[in-house]
């Protein structure tokens, strides 16, 4: 077995305890939620740390509830399985259930959390390897982000920044649904739009402060006639990270004109990417097959997947078209079935 190096494990059991613990964070501290990403990274030595703060004992972070303003709140430590089986989520946001069930396999979902999925590390096959492998290839920008070495990015050698890819399956649809996240630190808390949590940078892709944790996901009250769809393409029908995914949220007026469209593509760059050009095509139009085709092509032509898993970028670019087309067609089908 791969043996982990020693570290200190802090498991605050109260909110006050958490606040105190967060003041102890430094560059060598990591937050542990479900561990399905972090423990792998520790075993592969991509994360080095001296202290781990585990959030599993804080019941405050495990709740799902509806607020009086109609917004839905999901605690960051809710596991993906809990979300998939939550009657509140099933009723209020079925598309999130779809997205969650497309992640990994059942045993992973019993441990992985929504907070963890939104804070996944970025991935790249030059990085998600053992220390031996990474040393054999001479390290990379992500590995050497701290030590100012002359490392390069192997998949985009001309780039000055790391181009590892953010592969969350929940972030795109949550961004499309205009979710926000509550961030907590010992200084207090703030709520920001989820889309603002991300930066298109493979190393510093999450805009959390050093002593800050993601505590809650907040979905705004549903829009009138709103509908959301999540689609994912992966190598196998289980276990795998997305080759690309898309979250679409859309509202139409009485005459079926799309008033509000959000299309977010994931797993192609270091942050989820909003396909504004495709949204523009649809806004003010009906979901005709012409517009769907146009929007799908528009998105693909404006977006370029990073080759973080080998020579698949060209294929994944084509898949953006397919994903968006299929997602929009599903919305058309859903409406037909309501009517």
């Amino acid at each position: 077995m791969i043996r982990l190096p020693e570290f200190e494990l802090l498991s605050p059991t109260t909110w006050d305890g958490l606040m105190r613990t967060l003041t102890l964070t430094n560059g060598n501290t990591k937050i542990l939620a479900g561990g399905t990403d972090l423990i792998v990274n520790l075993k592969q030595g991509t994360s080095t740390l001296s202290r781990v703060i585990w959030l599993g004992k804080l019941n405050e972070l495990r709740r799902v509830f509806m607020a009086s303003d109609g917004s839905m709140h999901i605690g960051a430590m809710c596991t993906l399985s809990e979300i998939a089986t939550s009657t509140i989520v099933q009723k209020r946001c079925r598309v999130l259930v779809d997205a969650v069930l497309s992640i990994a396999g059942p045993a992973v979902r019993n441990r992985a959390t929504i907070g963890g999925n939104l804070c996944l590390d970025t991935r790249c096959y030059y990085y998600n390897q053992s220390g031996f492998w990474r040393d054999a290839v001479g390290g990379c920008l992500k590995q050497h982000s701290e030590d100012n070495s002359s490392a390069i990015c192997h998949i985009a050698p001309g780039w000055a920044r790391c181009s590892a890819v953010f592969c969350s399956d929940t972030a795109p649809i949550l961004i499309a649904l205009e979710a926000s996240v509550k961030l907590v630190s010992s200084d207090g808390e703030r709520t920001i739009l989820l889309r603002d949590l991300y930066r298109d940078d493979g190393v510093h892709h999450i805009a959390l402060k050093a002593d800050e944790i993601l505590a809650e996901v907040i979905l705004p009250p549903p829009r009138k006639n709103g509908v959301g769809v999540h689609h994912k393409i992966r190598a196998r029908q289980s276990i795998d990270f997305p080759l690309a995914n898309v979250g679409v949220s859309l509202a139409q007026d009485a005459s079926r004109i799309c008033s509000d469209v959000r299309i977010v593509v994931g797993a192609i760059q270091s942050a989820p990417i909003e396909a504004h050009s495709a949204e523009k095509v649809l806004r003010g139009n009906k979901l005709t097959s012409e517009h769907i085709e146009l929007a799908a092509n528009e998105a693909a032509s404006s977006l370029t997947p990073l080759p973080h898993i080998g020579d698949t970028a060209g294929y994944r670019k084509k898949m953006i078209t397919v994903l968006i087309r299929n997602a929009l067609n599903e919305i058309v089908r859903k409406e037909a079935s309501y009517a």
Partner: protein, 946 residues
């Protein structure tokens, strides 16, 4: 760090455990609680073998820190049986043959347990989804799903005839011990330092810093064991660790033994090796160049060719001039690997001699995950310079092999040598990444084929050329170089045949035998080539095949002796079952159906070292109180050979299989058997065991005949009795007959052995290819191509396999289904690729680094990727097989990839000539609607002439 005390309820018992924060639950359950059913297959959350239930829900124990589990209720399979009675799910797994090697079984059972506890009425699709995070490489999942779904129902009718595995209870209860499950007092953990370069000279190795690390007991380098070895006498090109040169990324350079695995891991970082880089040879075309350095300078070729074979049988020129049509095609078959779920492991324990101070006179015991204990023993003795008779190799339960554990590996030598040096037991278990570096997988093969044919579809000649990417060492490669050509003369008659092959060395992990050893590549090429010819000639692909079939009791042009042969039945069966005539060319757009057929050996006719000795030996003893014990050197690697051997003895002696004990694969106790490779075990070990059992039965008949006053020839042994066929009142209980026989002949014990008859031609190379018998297979695949994503969804596979007499139908079906699932993975999703040489980078520019070093990057099929499979067993009783049996474990893989390729053509009109058929490739092919590799020539000879 300070340990903290946690309390877990494990299988209903409270455990107070002192754990360090960084320990995973898998480590704690295996090493502190000693629940070794918790298997570690990848250690990175990618395979599901370590699944346990926490408060009734499956979790991956390798990804969970034990310290975060305080107060949880943990369940493992050890705790499923209650009061000595198996859980219904465990029983169902046994009855349905839902496990083969058993390594994924504990995790699989627990995932299934959680699924049906929560939703007792789950549909098949829901069950598959629930199991989709648990990888199984043996079964193809169908039997597992059925076992889960049919819980509490009586077993399927068709399976009632088959006995469950005799080791099945140990597998489903978690008591089956695999190599890594053993620990010994004072045991050390070993680790191997590996080369980060594809090709480099070793200038120096400095181990002093590692030796000084507290907890490190001993360190070794390659110079200490300078004796070359290789599984074949003709390619002795490996040493346990590299001495002066490294030949691929992952080649072993030094090894350490330390008091714990973490220390061993850390010690590797303190060894400094200075290298001088050499230009790497990374492809077949690189290897054919003469301006690159030779990877093995001792070879006789000026480039990196390791073996060249050229054989002609008859005259292909004559054959082509007699043809009406001639066609040439090129194909490529990408590399793939076994990906058995159990990583390689070895535990060595050395004991010095009492009357000699030289270690060479000492005694060495090695428990190892090997398919070939006998070859490992011979090679260990040679390399360690010990007496062979003092080396004992034991194969415990083995978690899948598929050819990937069928020769000696570095860890076996290193664990042994470190044990000799330290005087303490040493265990080395490979990480999943190391399994990929050590793999000996399928040779990437570039192929060229030319076939001549009469207008009526009769083959007149075949010419074939192949270039095999052998990786850094010889392995079984010389045999592969022959197998790539030799098997093209079955299952279709080829009157004139010529082939040429080149196996080359490259700076990549060595290729070797993977299920089907060398045969799937040419089979893919030929079956697709034949389909193309059928299309050209306007013939039904089924018709062209049926027209050319080999027949029983015939000899191929290259002197392969075919005895029993059920290929026609196989093809007719799958055509009928699939509704071929109504479906071919008539399915809706995007859907298609394809056919392919194949033949494979039942054991290599020649042993690896040619001394004319038996290939398999057996000892059978009968217990005075009933029952029998078999000692066999054969190695059950999950295929169920122990059960087959027990059933042969039970059948012969007329007693229940539950009264047979099998002691296997322990070189001190069991007679020599060459091992589980080349699909030889049922045929060869089976015949050996049968011979011993028959001798014992004869003695019992002789003793009984006197008492019963009847002729020996009138007696038979059935249902625990010796009964006269003539007068059924003349009968004796088996145990009474045993006592009579023992009183008359002394202790009842017999030996049996098997050596194949003299086979094959007299030409050079005639030794590779002949087998005492051949199996035959046909598959029809029906599938759907998503023309937007390029995804291929297999909807149905109909398989018919001629295995001679099926000694255990359930296990034969299991082998066939496992082959089909592996063939699907190989054809569609499994990609082994290596980084290219990239000039311009300061470091890492060398290339040759495997991109697939995990079960996340190397995508073997999950439970939701394999469709339900329809299997038909064709029984052409073999005249020389044990009770008529022949192989079933490898042959059914060969024709899966071409059947898929042919079905894709039927679905969307593109001919794929390069494996694997990834979605990307399919989209590209669809776009151009042209075959991917160049279609060299289609020539209508008569038209040209006219």
């Amino acid at each position: 760090m300070a340990r903290r005390i946690i309390t877990l309820t494990v299988n209903g018992e409270q455990c107070h455990l002192a754990v360090e924060p960084q320990w995973t639950l898998a480590e704690v359950l295996r090493e502190q609680v000693r629940l070794t059913s918790v298997k570690v297959g990848c250690d990175l959350g990618e395979c599901g073998a370590c699944t346990v239930l926490s408060d009734g829900k499956p979790i991956l124990s390798c990804l969970v820190l034990a310290a975060t589990m305080e107060g949880c209720d943990i369940q493992t399979v050890e705790g499923l049986a209650e009061n000595g009675e198996l859980d219904p799910l465990q029983k169902s797994f046994l009855n349905y043959g839902a496990m083969q090697c058993g390594f994924c079984t504990p995790g699989m059972i627990l995932s299934a347990k959680a699924a049906i506890s929560e939703h007792p009425d789950s549909s098949t699709a829901e069950i598959r989804e629930c199991l989709s995070g648990n990888l199984c490489r043996c079964t193809g999942y169908g039997e597992i799903v059925e076992a889960v779904q049919s819980i509490n129902q009586p077993p399927r009718q068709s399976n009632l005839k088959s006995e469950p595995r005799i080791d099945g209870v140990a597998q489903v209860t978690g008591t089956a011990k695999y190599t890594d499950d053993f620990t010994l007092p004072r045991m050390l953990y070993g680790k191997i330092l590996r080369s980060p370069h594809a090709h480099a000279r070793i200038l120096s190795i400095d181990t002093t810093r590692a030796e000084k690390l507290p907890g490190v007991i001993t360190v070794m380098t390659g110079k200490e064991l300078p004796f070359k070895y290789g599984i074949l006498p003709s390619s002795q090109d490996e040493s346990p660790l590299c001495i002066d040169k490294v030949r691929f990324v992952g080649d072993g350079v030094a090894a350490v033994a330390a008091i714990d695995e973490f220390t061993a891991q850390e010690a590797l970082k303190l060894i400094s090796v200075r290298y001088e880089l050499l230009p790497p040879v990374l492809s077949i075309s690189d290897a054919l160049r003469t301006d690159l350095p030779k990877i093995h300078p001792e070879t006789k070729y000026e480039n990196n060719v390791a073996k060249h074979v050229e054989l002609e049988f008859g005259s292909v020129d004559e054959g082509f001039s007699a043809a009406d049509y001639v066609r040439e095609d090129e194909f490529f078959y990408g590399p793939s690997t076994h990906a058995m779920i159990e990583p390689h492991a070895a535990l060595a324990s050395f004991e010095p001699s009492q009357n000699s101070s030289s270690f060479k006179d000492g005694y060495l015991t090695l428990w190892t995950s090997t398919q070939t204990p006998h070859y490992v023993r011979r090679t260990l003795a040679k390399v360690l310079q010990m007496r062979t008779s003092h080396v004992r190799v034991i194969k415990p339960y083995l978690g899948g092999g598929f050819g990937g554990k069928s020769e000696p590996f570095a860890l076996e030598f290193c664990a042994s040598w470190l044990s000799i040096k330290s005087g303490r037991p040493v265990k080395i278990t490979y990480t999943r990444e190391e399994v990929f570096y050590s793999h000996r997988g399928r040779h990437a093969t570039k192929m060229w084929l030319k076939t001549g044919m009469k207008k009526d579809g009769t083959i007149t000649a075949v010419k074939y050329k192949a270039w095999l990417d052998g990786g850094a060492y010889g392995s079984y490669g010389v045999v592969t170089s022959y197998y790539t050509g030799q098997f093209l003369t079955m299952p279709y008659k080829v009157p004139q045949f010529k082939f040429e092959s080149w196996r080359v060395y490259t700076n990549k992990p060595p290729s070797g035998p993977k299920r089907g050893h060398g045969a799937p590549q040419p089979r893919f090429a030929f079956e697709v080539h034949l389909d193309r010819i059928a299309t050209e000639l306007g013939m039904d692909p089924a018709e062209i095949r049926l027209k050319n079939l080999v027949e029983s009791n015939s000899m191929t042009v290259n002197s392969l002796r075919i005895t029993s042969c059920g290929i026609r039945d196989c093809i007719e069966k799958v055509l009928e079952a699939s509704g071929w005539p109504e479906k071919r060319g008539k399915l809706p757009a995007g859907q298609g159906i394809g056919l392919a057929a194949s033949a494979y050996i039942s054991g290599a006719g020649k042993e690896i070292y040619w001394e004319g000795l038996p290939h398999s030996g057996a000892i059978v003893t009968i217990d005075r109180f009933g029952g029998a014990t078999v000692l066999t050197g054969s190695a059950d690697i999950g295929q169920g050979s122990k059960t087959v051997i027990a059933s042969l003895v039970a059948e012969t002696l007329g007693i229940s299989i539950s009264d047979i004990r099998v002691c296997e694969a322990d070189t001190d106790l069991t007679p020599v058997d060459l091992g589980s490779y080349s699909s030889r075990v049922t045929f060869m070990a089976g015949n050996a065991v049968l011979r011993a059992a028959e001798e014992l039965r004869q003695k019992m008949f002789e003793a009984a005949a006197g008492t019963l006053k009847t002729h020996i020839s009138d007696l038979r042994a059935v249902r625990g009795e010796i009964v006269s066929r003539v007068n059924s009142t003349k009968r004796l209980m088996f145990t009474d007959a045993v006592r009579l026989a023992e009183a008359r002949f002394g202790t009842l014990c017999a030996t049996g052995w098997y050596a194949p008859p003299k086979l094959g031609g007299t030409y050079k190379g005639a030794g590779a290819g002949p087998s005492p018998s051949y199996s035959f297979t046909a598959h029809v695949v029906m599938l759907e191509v998503d023309q937007e994503t390029g995804n291929v969804k297999i909807n149905n596979v109909w398989s018919a396999h001629d295995c001679g007499k099926a000694l255990n139908k359930m296990m034969v079906e299991g082998q066939i289904k496992g082959c089909v699932a592996m063939g699907i993975g190989e054809a569609l999703s499994e990609v082994l690729s290596y980084t290219r040489r990239t000039p311009g980078y300061q470091a890492g520019s060398h290339g040759g680094l495997s991109r697939a070093t995990s079960l996340l990057n190397y995508t073997i099929p999950t439970a939701v990727d394999v469709p339900p499979l329809d299997v038909f067993i064709v029984e052409s009783i073999d005249p020389e097989g044990p009770l008529g049996a022949k192989e079933a474990g490898e042959g059914p893989l060969l024709s899966v990839p071409p059947a898929i390729a042919n079905a894709i053509y039927d679905a969307v009109g593109v001919r794929l000539s390069s494996i694997p058929f990834t979605p990307d490739k399919i989209l590209k092919a669809l776009k151009s609607k042209q075959p991917l590799a160049s279609l060299v020539e289609v020539r209508r000879k008569k038209e040209t002439a006219a």
